[in-house]
């Protein structure tokens, strides 16, 4: 049902490399043997000697623009100063990676770079290391050090070739052809990732927005581990955004994987698995607050849903758990509005069950992490579980402000001076009996839990019933909450109705236990009310054969009559009504029995 294709990474057979010619060289007095053709920088790496670089990146061709990696090489009597990143290792070379002369060269190069970009952090760090206080050649304000990493990555790895160097001398810059918006840029962000100065930023072309919009709340890369708790805990590749699947380039993940586990050619497999029982636990969707336009979701940057707030709060999330506004600042006041899309005749009449408690959780977290004011706009406070009411009381003591009254609208236009620059929530405080305007920095909407849009499809597949609100129908609301009208198919969790985690776990355990007990029995109990064909009356017309939705009726060629398989028959009686000879009797619902009932009822 989802459009994303996923390719799983798996260990494949090891690729064998052809034997390479090796060369021996000496670096800082230590001997090392490397492949012929590799550069001094690699050789030093194998020895654990670190040579500083600015414009070097392992997976693209070296450019040697920055000259920081300059080292001394001696061959026989000849001494030269070359860049380690692109000087090939030769047999018998003697390399020194640091001495006074090298230090002088490095300092000079850094000073030259500082003369262009004095504010760039990597340069400032290098300068501090080398003992440079101020460049003799000036202090430029440029942000780009012209290392060319972005150009090389865009050309060689991504293959988009959207940017390159343009201009000569002091006019030299990295840009797109003719300085116009590129059509070739695929927005992969690789240039921003390799840029050592942070000069390149990925931004939407509409407006400069950061945090909630630019920093994704989902996967940041085409290869990603779905969640921290994913089973198996392995990365998957989104073939829609992966560069290799788009134009055959990149393949960096395969290059750096130490166990060579990535194989792009594994095809998607469709497997047919025969099972005896099915548990549907397909979860829920969140009500889209764009439908309730009055709350400003989608129009105002700082109106977010509860799920977005939760993702932001998560320590593994995009802000590392910091609560921030869209512009990166900390909010001084937050409004949490309950019952968005639930308890509402216009959308869903039911109560979404979990929102009151997570709204309290948010309020508590905000009070813990920031010193913002929290306003909670509720209709009723539904704190039904263990410790829930006690938690509510605790929050009252923590100074969270509770306003009993559903918020009517969120405004962006200030009327009073204290509302400048803030969002205003207008509500009726029913306990005070007044209409109030509360200015806040951020609004969190407790959006209702809804059934998934595709649940009618699944219901049809599994012959499940669903109620008006599209949640799957259980067999009995009180006595059979996890089984369904179809034997062997169970439901658990929010697909059956909104519920919180303890209840979901309880239901899931129940469904699993019931499913297992079916399998553990070793036999199945069949319907007693099945249908039976009287051989003597059956004319072999076979009208009934195709009528049965369970394919329970077979035509016995030898006897020239049809026969019903009792184990498959569910007793619906459709065949019985169709038989022109009256040869089929639906046990317990025979024609004579129904006639007798009718006569009795109509007497």
């Amino acid at each position: 049902m989802t459009k994303e294709k996923k390719t799983e990474t798996k260990t494949e057979t090891k690729k064998t490399k052809p034997p390479q010619e090796m060369v021996k060289l000496i670096i800082d007095g230590k001997e090392v043997e490397v492949e012929k053709g590799s550069y001094i920088l690699h050789a030093a790496e194998t020895l654990g000697i670190k040579i500083p670089t600015l414009c070097y990146y392992k997976h693209v061709q070296p450019y040697a623009a920055c000259r920081i990696c300059t080292v001394e090489v001696k061959r026989g009597k000849r001494v030269r100063y070359v860049t380690a990143c692109n000087f090939p290792a030769e047999e018998g070379l003697e390399v020194t990676t640091f001495n006074d002369r090298i230090k002088t060269i490095r300092k000079l190069n850094v000073e030259f770079l500082l003369a262009r970009c004095s504010k760039v952090k990597v340069l400032q760090d290098l300068a501090a290391e080398l003992g440079i206080e101020k460049s003799r050649f000036g202090e430029g304000e440029e942000g780009c050090i012209l290392c060319g990493l972005c150009v090389r990555v865009c050309n060689e790895v991504v293959g988009a070739k959207a940017i390159a160097f343009a201009g000569r001398g002091i006019e030299r810059e990295v840009t797109t052809p003719f300085n116009v918006d590129s059509e070739r840029c695929i927005g992969c962000g690789s240039c921003a990732k390799v840029c050592p100065t942070g000069y390149i930023r990925v931004a939407s072309t509409e407006e400069d927005k950061i945090v909630h919009r630019d920093i994704t709340l989902g996967p940041n890369t085409a290869i990603y581990v779905p969640t921290m708790q994913a089973v198996p805990n392995r990365p998957v590749i989104d073939t829609v955004s992966c560069i290799y699947f788009r134009n055959g380039k990149c393949k960096i993940c395969a290059k750096i994987c130490p166990t060579e586990a990535i194989d792009y050619e594994i095809p998607d497999k469709t497997e047919e698995i025969e099972v005896g029982t099915i548990i549907a636990a397909t979860g829920f969707e969140l009500f889209d607050p764009r439908k309730t336009m009055q709350y400003g979701y989608g129009r105002f940057d700082n109106v977010i849903t509860s799920l977005e707030f939760e993702k932001m709060n998560c320590a593994a999330g995009s802000t590392n758990g910091k609560i921030v506004l869209a512009n990166g600042e900390e909010p001084k006041s937050i409004g949490i509005i309950h019952c968005i899309g639930s308890r509402d005749k216009n959308y869903n009449e039911y109560c979404s069950r979990v929102c009151c408690m997570y709204a309290l959780k948010f309020a508590h977290l905000v009070k813990e992490k920031t010193d913002a004011e929290v306003y909670d706009f509720y209709i009723d406070m539904r704190s039904f579980g263990k410790g829930y009411e006690e938690f509510y009381n605790r929050l009252l003591e923590e100074g969270v402000r509770f306003i009993r009254g559903k918020a009517a609208q969120v405004y962006n236009e200030p009327i009073y001076p204290e509302e400048e620059g803030k969002l205003v929530i207008r509500c009726e405080d029913t306990l005070m009996g007044r209409v109030r305007r509360i200015p806040v920095d951020m609004v969190v909407l407790c959006s209702a839990i809804e059934a998934r849009q595709d649940s009618p499809e699944l219901a049809r597949l599994l012959t499940l019933c669903h109620s008006k609100d599209k949640f799957f129908a259980e067999k009995h609301p009180k006595l059979a909450p996890v089984s369904t009208a179809s034997d062997g198919i169970f439901i658990a969790g929010c697909c059956q109705g909104p519920k919180d985690i303890p209840d979901t776990v309880a239901q899931a355990s129940g469904a699993a236990a019931q499913a297992m007990s079916l399998a553990a029995k070793g036999y199945i109990e069949i319907e007693s009310a099945t249908s039976e064909i009287d051989k003597d009356k059956c004319t072999g017309c076979r009208i009934c054969n195709d009528l049965c939705p369970y394919h329970a009726i077979d035509y016995i060629v030898a006897d020239k009559v049809s026969k019903i398989n009792e184990a498959l028959c569910k007793g619906c009686g459709t065949c019985t009504a169709a038989c022109p000879s009256g040869a089929i009797a639906a046990k317990q619902f025979k024609d004579q029995q129904i006639s007798a009932e009718m006569e009795g009822v109509l007497s």
Binding site: S467, C572, A577, A578, F589, I594, E597, E599, L602
Partner: protein, 135 residues
């Protein structure tokens, strides 16, 4: 004494009968003229039952099943959908008012619908008067 119609309801076990059950547990008020018997699926309903019902003294017959697509036995109600129009034709040819026979789709949560239909049919048939087919 005012004429009280006898309406026979043939309800499928899973949806419509449960719906009628719900109308009962929710204490909904509806006319007592609807007398319900249960079959497992509306697909069990032989057109002959309907004719027999009228012959047994029913003034009206209501067949109720699950909504198309939601049949507990997957396709039973589609077969019903195909069979019931024949009844309408036969009743027309026999000179019996078509309003006396109704096919309805009622789900397990639609107790209010059961009440609505029962009341509607009672009203309609009261106006039509007794059928008096029973010898």
């Amino acid at each position: 004494m005012a004429f009280e119609p006898k309406i026979l309801g043939i309800f499928c076990n899973w949806c419509s009968y449960t719906g009628a059950d719900l109308a009962g547990t929710a204490r909904m008020k509806y006319s007592p003229n609807l007398r319900i018997i249960r079959v497992m699926c509306s697909g069990r309903v032989d057109p002959q039952f309907i004719l027999k019902a009228f012959a047994d003294g029913a003034d009206g017959v209501l067949v109720a099943g699950c909504h198309p697509g939601d049949c507990h036995y997957i396709e039973g109600n589609y077969k019903t959908m195909g069979r019931m129009p024949i009844i309408h034709k036969m009743l027309e040819q026999m000179g019996i008012d078509q309003e006396r026979f109704r096919l309805e789709w009622i789900s397990a949560s639609e107790g209010d619908r059961v009440a609505e239909v029962a009341n509607e049919m009672t009203e309609t048939i009261k106006k039509l008067g007794p059928l008096n087919l029973k010898p």
